[in-house]
């Protein structure tokens, strides 16, 4: 094997992740290739959680006592960190949610209740793509059912890319919102943001980018993207579960109506009526995921210290190697781009007619954790006429040796069901 270029010092990095030392099935060290589902957490993030709970835990914003001030400073400090991480023009544009799904639903609901010119109603259209995660499909189906708006989408090419050939028919003067994923969670495809944003801006439609599979893996610059909203989720980027982010352009957040009502999001309440706090608080009803925001802040620090460009290079090298090695496995067919160009480190495949469930089970027995099923992107499986896929997905701690383990594991699968 020729050495790969651009790899990180995984030996050092892996020491930060306690779970990677875990063994399963009688002493087999775990090979964790399920990073697109969720990432593991470095000690730095767990330390931040513990020190929050052991030193500073209090409810935020409303206290004059020391703990409340510390908790507020930590929580709002996490917002600063996330804002810097995505190059947001203002920290007040960063809304903490519980996960990317809530972020996406938040936008869909705001648009349903908005006044003109944002309002989605029966005269208007919503555009998504066939490679969206269910969390970027179902909210729009619900909005479409509830408002009468028409739901349209971009189809896929045979090699797992967006088919934009009919872009002018899909995105039209009637389009109010275009929502699409930056990186496909099932196929790894990186989508051409510019072309879509340009067309959307031409017709005056808003753009929401689902960056759930991008934020963990590549430098993310919301200003460079040119979108109006960007959503992502903490648990896939070394952060805790229970925290997501929605970034939105300030003037939109000012104009759009709130979603959830309650404590923290108000300015003043009487029984008759209420007024709302400015963004981001307007969209953060109730006690926020305080510790989880603090943990996400620590995750962002961790990733930034390593460097998002270096992480992207590492994953690209691993992906290139993995694609090459996987294609050596007889009867293996990659679903999605079969090269490492314009793709992330999630690789889906089918192996002859062995069902992915069976593939995953036999791999698990060898300590190799992959995900099997439709990966919350069932329309992609329908599109390619398959019931499900096996997906291996890599992250900053993944090694070429783990790719080799996967390939050996697949040989074993073939023998088992041969």
């Amino acid at each position: 094997m020729t050495p790969l270029h651009g790899l990180l010092d995984t030996e050092a990095i892996r020491k930060d992740f306690p779970i990677l030392d875990r063994t399963v099935h009688g002493g087999k060290k775990i090979v964790y290739l399920d990073n697109a589902a969720t990432s593991q957490k470095p000690r730095q993030v767990l330390d931040a959680l513990n020190s929050y709970y052991e030193q500073s835990n209090a409810n935020v914003h409303r206290g004059v006592h020391v703990l409340a001030e510390e908790a507020t400073a930590l929580y709002e400090g996490a917002r600063d960190k996330v804002a810097a991480f995505i190059n947001a023009p203002s920290r007040d544009e960063v809304i903490f949610t519980k996960n990317a799904s809530e972020s996406l639903n938040l936008v869909a609901n705001m648009l349903g209740w908005a006044d003109e010119p944002y309002r989605v109603d029966r005269e208007t259209e919503i555009v998504i793509t066939e490679m969206e995660h269910h969390s970027n499909i179902v909210p729009w189906q619900l909005l479409s059912q509830r408002t009468g708006a028409k739901l349209k989408w971009f189809g896929l090419t045979d090699d797992g890319r967006l088919d934009l050939s009919d872009i002018d028919q899909v995105i039209t003067e009637k389009t109010k919102i275009v929502s699409f994923t930056l990186v496909s969670n099932i196929m790894g495809t990186v989508n051409p943001v510019d072309a879509i944003v340009r067309r959307a801006q031409d017709v005056g439609a808003l753009v929401l980018i689902d960056a759930s599979q991008a934020a963990p893996h590549m430098p993310l610059d919301v200003q460079a993207l040119g979108a109006d909203f960007v959503a992502f989720t903490g648990h896939k980027m070394c952060g805790p579960t229970g925290i997501g982010v929605l970034w939105g352009r300030q003037e939109l957040l000012e104009d759009l109506p709130p979603f959830l009502g309650g404590g923290e999001m108000i300015e003043t309440v009487s029984m008759q009526s209420s007024t709302y706090a400015p963004a981001p608080h307007k969209f953060e009803a109730g006690t926020p995921p305080i510790a989880q925001a603090v943990g996400l802040g620590a995750a962002v620090d961790y990733l930034t210290a390593i460097g998002m460009d270096k992480i992207w290079a590492h994953e690209h090298a691993i992906t290139e190697y993995a694609v090459k090695r996987l294609l050596e496995v007889p009867d293996l067919r990659i679903i999605g781009p079969a090269t490492a160009e314009d793709r992330g480190a999630a690789i889906s495949f089918v192996l002859g007619d062995i069902h992915p469930h069976d593939v995953g089970q036999v791999l698990d027995e060898q300590g190799i954790a992959v995900r099997v099923g439709h990966h919350c992107a069932r329309p992609v499986c329908l599109r390619y006429g398959i019931p499900a896929t096996t997906r291996a997905s890599f992250y900053l701690y993944s090694t070429p040796a783990e790719v080799d383990a996967l390939v050996e594991g697949l040989e074993h699968v073939r023998n088992f069901f041969g």
Partner: protein, 151 residues
């Protein structure tokens, strides 16, 4: 190897050579999916009085769900409904045992080939695969009966 406890010869046999696969005429048809993995089955039941005349099915899924449908067909077709319900209950109990029930002779007599699924019960994510066709069958049978009643 622990895997062998799930993938018993009997199961792999049924998977590779399924019994009664394909859709034939029936009194009721149901379509069940396993939302956690997307496995699907379309299943029809034909009753002849209180006797199960046929269970036909089509679907996609892993070896466990496919083998389970095949075993179901082999085990239930030709039985009286009462008997079949009892078999279904015993199978359900076994599958929900989390590997803690060691099938005895009595159970083996009731379940025949289906005892081979004992090992699957240790794998919570796969229990639903094994139960998919059985739940579909129960549902279809209930529909067939209620249609007969109302007819």
């Amino acid at each position: 190897m622990k895997l062998d406890s799930m993938y018993q010869e009997v199961i792999l046999d049924h998977y590779k050579h399924p019994h009664g696969r394909g859709l034939r005429e029936g009194d009721a048809e149901v379509h069940h999916v396993n939302p956690t993995c997307g496995d699907e089955i379309t299943l029809r039941v034909r009753l002849d009085g209180s006797k199960i005349a046929d269970v036909s099915y089509e679907g996609q899924g892993c070896s466990i769900s496919q083998a389970s449908a095949s075993v179901l067909n082999e085990l239930l077709v030709g039985r009286n409904l009462d008997e079949a319900m009892k078999i279904q209950e015993v199978f359900l109990e076994l599958m929900q045992s989390k590997g803690k029930v060691e099938p005895d002779d009595a159970m083996e007599e009731v379940l025949e080939d289906a005892v081979a699924f004992a090992g699957v019960s240790k794998y919570p994510a796969r229990v639903k695969c094994a139960l998919l066709s059985w739940m579909a069958w129960k549902d279809a049978t209930a529909q067939a009966l209620s249609e007969k009643e109302s007819a």
